[in-house]
């Protein structure tokens, strides 16, 4: 595995991406450019195709039409040996249930033999510390954790990769407001520290506007609005305004 050692964000360009499941179109032909090193947030109603879009960016789904280029190179689906370090935090965590948290977080390093075991253990416990999981949690299996802890472990697993492009699917959906805040900060830190390009899918408006360099509003498989936080707030799209204004009275 030849991972580039320098850390820099990767730009992503999406052209004419279309995807249908069983004849039902989930993503209409969609164009989008994500710049190197930015934090790009995708918001949108449930079922609008956000997760499906994210899965395309890391090569888990094959588009029906169109293409995705990461750093100018076409993404090969099902790549076993990618040319870039990518990572994704799944909406459900996606931890391996037969491995402990520790093993899950260190999996990338152990499987690719990137570091000696002692060093891996040190990196793992440091990274778990970043997401506020202690040594007691590290020895547990994923089904012995709460939903939020699982999510944090999954985030730790992605951080260990030192990704150049990292995708978060609802990183704060199961977290209490305080942990959500730390995770939000950690995402920003990761981006500042390593320059990684970060794509975040979220319903959490505070998180979205708090961390985003740019945002996109995805509804019914189309991007209805795109721009900075201020531009999105000022956007005339009615669905977006409803989405932003929704409050318990």
């Amino acid at each position: 595995m030849t991972a580039p050692s320098s850390n820099h964000g990767l730009p992503v360009s999406v052209r004419g991406l279309r995807k249908a499941f069983d004849g039902r179109v989930v993503l209409h032909p969609l164009d989008l450019d994500i710049e190197a090193g930015e934090i790009f947030v995708i918001m949108g109603p449930s079922g609008s195709g956000k997760s499906v879009f994210l899965r395309h960016l890391i090569g888990l789904e094959e588009p029906d039409a169109g293409e995705i280029r990461v750093a100018g190179e076409k993404l090969v689906p099902d790549a076993a040996d990618p040319r870039h370090r990518l990572a994704m935090v799944f909406q459900s965590g996606g931890l391996l249930n037969s491995l402990t948290v520790e093993e899950n977080v260190g999996l990338y390093l152990t499987e690719h033999r990137l570091k000696p075991p002692a060093e891996i253990a040190a990196i793992v416990s440091k990274t778990l510390g970043l997401v506020q999981l202690g040594p007691a949690d590290a020895a547990k299996y994923p089904d012995e954790l709460s939903g939020g802890m699982r999510k944090r472990a999954a985030i730790a697993r992605a951080l260990v990769v030192e990704p150049e492009l990292v995708l978060f699917d609802e990183p704060t959906s199961e977290l209490d407001p305080l942990v959500a805040l730390t995770i939000g900060r950690e995402i920003v830190n990761l981006n500042r520290r390593t320059g990684a390009t970060v794509v975040v899918v979220t319903h959490d408006r505070d998180l979205a506007f708090g961390i985003a360099d740019r945002l996109a509003f995805l509804a019914e498989g189309k991007i209805l609005a795109l721009g900075t936080a201020a531009e999105l707030r000022a956007s005339p799209v009615p669905l977006l305004q409803q989405f932003l204004a929704a409050e318990f009275k």
Binding site: I58, A87, L96
Partner: protein, 252 residues
């Protein structure tokens, strides 16, 4: 049906191409071997003892009545090592180990663990399929050797202690020694190796293509076991036919 067959061949090809990585995955293979042994050794022992016994019980009285009781050892041993041990051990492994593999890979598939592996640039075939197929391929022939020994013992016990047969221990093993070639045993081992690879590929393929939650996992497991059994029995005939020219009895 034919699409599945094609996919399985592709999977087999991928596993074969991944073989050079085997040394890297050696700990996973030994872990699998340990699991397989744990799950099946005791069952294999019981099964073989009774199969050997019933072979003696069925054929012993007929042979003794015709005055050829001395051939009993040979008959039991040949039946055991060329046919029953390979087939029964493969069936045992398909039911006991193959089903568990399908369930495990199926749940990994359904709960997105396989997707997660791929995002970490870990190839599911290297990480999951290769160690399992190799472990089954090693374990089944070993089990067959073990099953032969236990089965022969079972046959001898029944032959000696059943009143209608009463072929003494020494006569039984004398017949066995004279009548069974190493090539007979090897013949069975070759067959069992092919059965094992088929079980491994069928069960892993079925696991990796699971869809539809817990019920989907259940469906996959059933399908994997049934398909394995059908393939074992068909392949048994084909391989026996192909191996016939190399048979020791054939030359005599």
């Amino acid at each position: 049906m034919f699409r599945n067959l094609g996919e399985m061949l592709v999977l087999f090809g991928a596993v074969a191409r991944a073989l050079p990585r085997l040394w890297r995955e050696r700990w996973k293979v030994s872990e699998q071997l340990f699991d397989i042994g744990n799950a099946s050794l005791f069952m294999a022992c019981v099964l073989s003892l009774f199969i050997g016994g019933v072979l003696s019980l069925q054929s012993g009285p007929v042979l003794v009545e015709n005055g050829i009781g001395t051939a009993l050892g040979q008959l039991v041993a040949i039946a055991m090592c060329k046919e029953l041990a390979p087939v029964m051990m493969s069936i045992l492994i398909a039911g006991r180990v193959g089903s568990a593999m399908t369930a495990e890979l199926g749940s990994m598939r359904v709960y997105q663990e396989i997707d997660a592996l791929r995002t970490l640039a870990i190839h599911p075939i290297h990480y999951l399929v290769l160690p399992r197929v190799v472990a089954i391929g090693v374990a089944v022939p070993c089990l067959v050797v073990f099953s032969n020994l236990v089965g022969w013992l079972g046959g001898a016990i029944v032959a000696a202690h059943n009143d209608r047969i009463a072929v003494p221990w020494a006569t039984f093993f004398m017949g066995l020694r004279q009548g069974v070639d190493l090539s007979d045993v090897v013949n069975g081992l070759i067959k069992s190796f092919f059965f094992a690879i088929c079980i491994g590929v069928i069960c892993c393929h079925q696991g990796l293509t699971t869809r539809g939650g817990p019920r989907g996992i259940g469906r996959s497991v059933t399908k994997a076991v049934v398909n394995s059994l059908v393939v074992i029995l068909i392949l048994d005939y084909v391989l026996t036919r192909l191996l016939l020219p190399f048979d020791s009895a054939f030359g005599h």
